[in-house]
Symmetry: C2
Subunit: 450 residues, 2 copies
């Protein structure tokens, strides 16, 4: 037997060596490592060596579930049993213009489910839900647990940031991974995401795993592998799970940047908005309703979601949540109240033809360069700046016709961003082959046959 | 190109990631990592992650040479150019009863070469040259560089421990490897050994790489791989190199334990001693003479070594060195002056037959248990205790005939050691197949054709 017997004391160096040699760790060994590290009883250098061994050796599904649970249990797990409705959430691995959370939370709450959404900030070239919400004047994402509950009770959805009480092991491990070259492991990514999401006390989770030039996982098979790990891990912990692999070869929708994205979400909540964004919101909401058990099948769920957008019920829910979290609800009806950049600049097409591709990560980086994201953790974001795309892949353009409009507050930043945008568009004389579907694959849980 | 360009600043996390992904590091990146870590400018956790990546990804020969040189140059490199003779040394990877250094240093110095030997202490189940030397009353292994030089000038050999000035990077890295499960890498073992040995300012090095049940590398192919790495690394740095893979499936000679091993070395220096020990000393000395350039071929070197033992010249040299390093030279002629255990106990054979095998690591561990080695670094060793083997592999025994005599100072320790010894001997009714040769393979340098 590889795993240590239950009566022996656990030695961290033996745990490291076994993983190094490709062996399987016992649950109690993983629990010990995570708990002792979180307490400060195991030094960073031992955990760094172990993390690198995990990156290069991988984990079994059983080990991964033990790691995720140990990280989850390092902190508070919300008990929302006082609220009778099913609790459901969505998580995205991050993309450019990926703003569905702002639509989905009120939309699914309008359908009677509870959405206790704990989100993150922008990372690298991708935006973050918290940064977007904070562009609504007064909106407070830093609620304590009691206030989070209060908002959930009042309107069925609430959107906050990770509190210190949630998965402290993940915070500590993530900071170490960042400086030890151990970020890029599907196992460690899975444990990090799932330990935070499952702290929400939800019964079902829909994962939006991005793939393509604007995603962290550029390769579709890598994304599918991560999706399978997360679905398997969630199911082991008794959650209803599904993962949608969705396209991130170009930005989602037309707006990239915090206030600009809020504006586009409001269009969707009013029943409009760009096709791809609206379609993905309906798809994800359909699955949330389906897994939440309030509809028979994903299609029924999508129809219900479309009706809630058309009736204005989802927008009303969003307005209620914004008010409950201290935001200026009037800004939802008068977007001039949202932060606005002082200047705009158009990037014209250099020639006639068709948009063959948009290097999506560069568009995200251009938004960061304008001030819409962070180069370092401690940077402040400029909520007003960003990019509006007038042309997307397969669109026809004439020479000089605007491809994008940049919203900016600094000439210096404009020139760097403009050059990134110019290089990100490829214009060909012939239209490109048809783009793939928005949802490329669906990874279902074992308990989810349909 | 994988390696960073020479004009960019080096980021440690990028070095870690490149090694993690199986890429090759540039010399200046390795130099930076080692120098900055030694200075304390790179934290343990980053180096721990890098070490684990090296364990699992390996290194190219070019990377390994850069690592070894960086570690070597982290400290003082002896310049012995004032001494006209060729400087040569031998290094063993460690075994049980492996005491050849005490014979070789004076023997080869008696032949006119300079042997500036820097040795280590017992590690795990193996003994250490310094511990053995210190069983000679008064012998001082802690010489400063100036005194080391003085002894070398006076008698041609000197035997000391690693000073703080030698390869401090190795000291720091070794301590980290010990607690992060990154000891067992042939690349890291090679760099550690070679960085210390090459600090001696030698021109040629003979490696005795042990393989078998009492060696760290039990598997012969693993030992051969390590031997090849060390030979290639030394050659890249301009040294004449050879490695002998030698048998450690049973203890070398008949004595295990510090003072007991000194006693056995004196037998060899007087022209006697057990066959295997004497044979290996002649073999290694033959290569040292050959690489040192003072003889035409290894066979000639062996003959010369045999003559120096027979004439007493080697013993005289040993006596001179012991005196120069403060030791009681009278103990060499009257071994009753060496530390002696208060009691002895015989382990008899349980049956008639032939010794089929001796689990060699257990014999080493038995000696450690008696007090002859260290369980923790800070433990003191008992120079007097140990084991004398009366029977070795293929020897015939009758029931009740002594297999070993244990020399001990504590009843409690005796019982633990006795049980290890009893389990280490296998007695079969038929004699075992012939044992393999003492020297199993010779790994020659490219510049060493003969």
């Amino acid at each position: 037997m590889n795993a240590a017997s239950a009566t022996q004391p656990v030695r961290v160096v033996d745990i490291i060596r076994r993983k190094r040699d490709g062996g399987e760790l016992a649950r109690r060994e993983i629990e010990h490592l995570v708990a002792a590290y979180t307490r400060g009883d195991v030094p960073d250098y031992q955990v760094a060596a172990w993390l690198m061994a995990v990156v290069l050796r991988g984990m079994t599904r059983v080990e991964l579930a033990a790691l995720t649970e140990s990280m989850l249990r390092s902190g508070e797990v919300l008990d929302l049993s006082e609220l009778p409705a099913v609790k459901v959430d969505k998580h995205s691995t991050g993309g450019v213009g990926d703003k569905t959370s702002l639509v989905l939370a009120p939309l699914v709450a309008a359908g009677g489910l509870i959405v206790p959404m704990i989100s993150g900030r922008g990372l690298g070239h991708t935006g973050g839900t918290l940064d977007k919400l904070e562009s609504i004047p007064g909106f407070n994402v830093n609620l304590e647990t009691a206030d989070f509950r209060r908002v959930l009770r009042a309107c069925g959805c609430a959107m906050i940031g990770q509190t210190a009480a949630i998965a402290p092991a993940d915070k500590k491990l993530y900071a170490l991974r960042d400086v030890t070259g151990t970020v890029e492991s599907p196992y460690l990514i899975c444990a990090s995401i799932m330990s935070k999401k499952l702290a929400e006390g939800i019964g079902a989770l829909v994962l939006d795993v991005k793939t393509g030039s604007g995603a962290f996982m550029k390769n579709e098979d890598d994304a599918a592998f991560l999706a399978e790990l997360m679905v398997a891990t969630g199911e082991r912990m008794g959650k209803k799970m599904v993962a949608l692999l969705t396209d991130m070869d170009q930005p989602l929708g037309r707006h990239v940047g915090n206030a600009l994205e809020v504006e586009e979400c409001l269009e969707v909540l009013r029943g409009g908005g760009p096709d791809d964004l609206r379609e993905l919101c309906l798809e994800l909401a359909g699955w949330m309703f389906h897994l939440g058990g309030s509809d028979a099948g994903v299609e029924k769920g999508k129809q219900r979601a479309a009706a809630l957008l058309a009736s204005g019920a989802a927008l009303d829910k969003f307005r209620a949540m914004v008010e409950l979290q201290g935001g200026d609800a009037a800004a939802l009806d008068d977007v001039a109240r949202l932060p606005r950049a002082r200047r705009t600049a158009v990037v014209p097409s250099p020639r006639e033809g068709f948009v063959a591709s948009i290097q999506c990560e560069q568009v995200g980086t251009a938004s960061v360069v304008l001030g819409g994201g962070r180069e370092r953790k401690e940077d402040a974001v400029d909520p007003a700046v960003g990019i509006v795309l007038h042309k997307k892949v397969r669109d026809r353009v004439t020479a000089g016709e605007p491809l994008c409009t940049l919203h900016y507050n600094s000439d210096e930043k404009l020139s760097a961003a403009r050059s990134l945008i110019e290089r990100s568009y490829r214009i060909d004389p012939q239209p490109p082959a048809a783009t793939g579907p928005l949802v490329r694959r669906i990874v279902r849980g074992a308990g989810e046959g349909s």
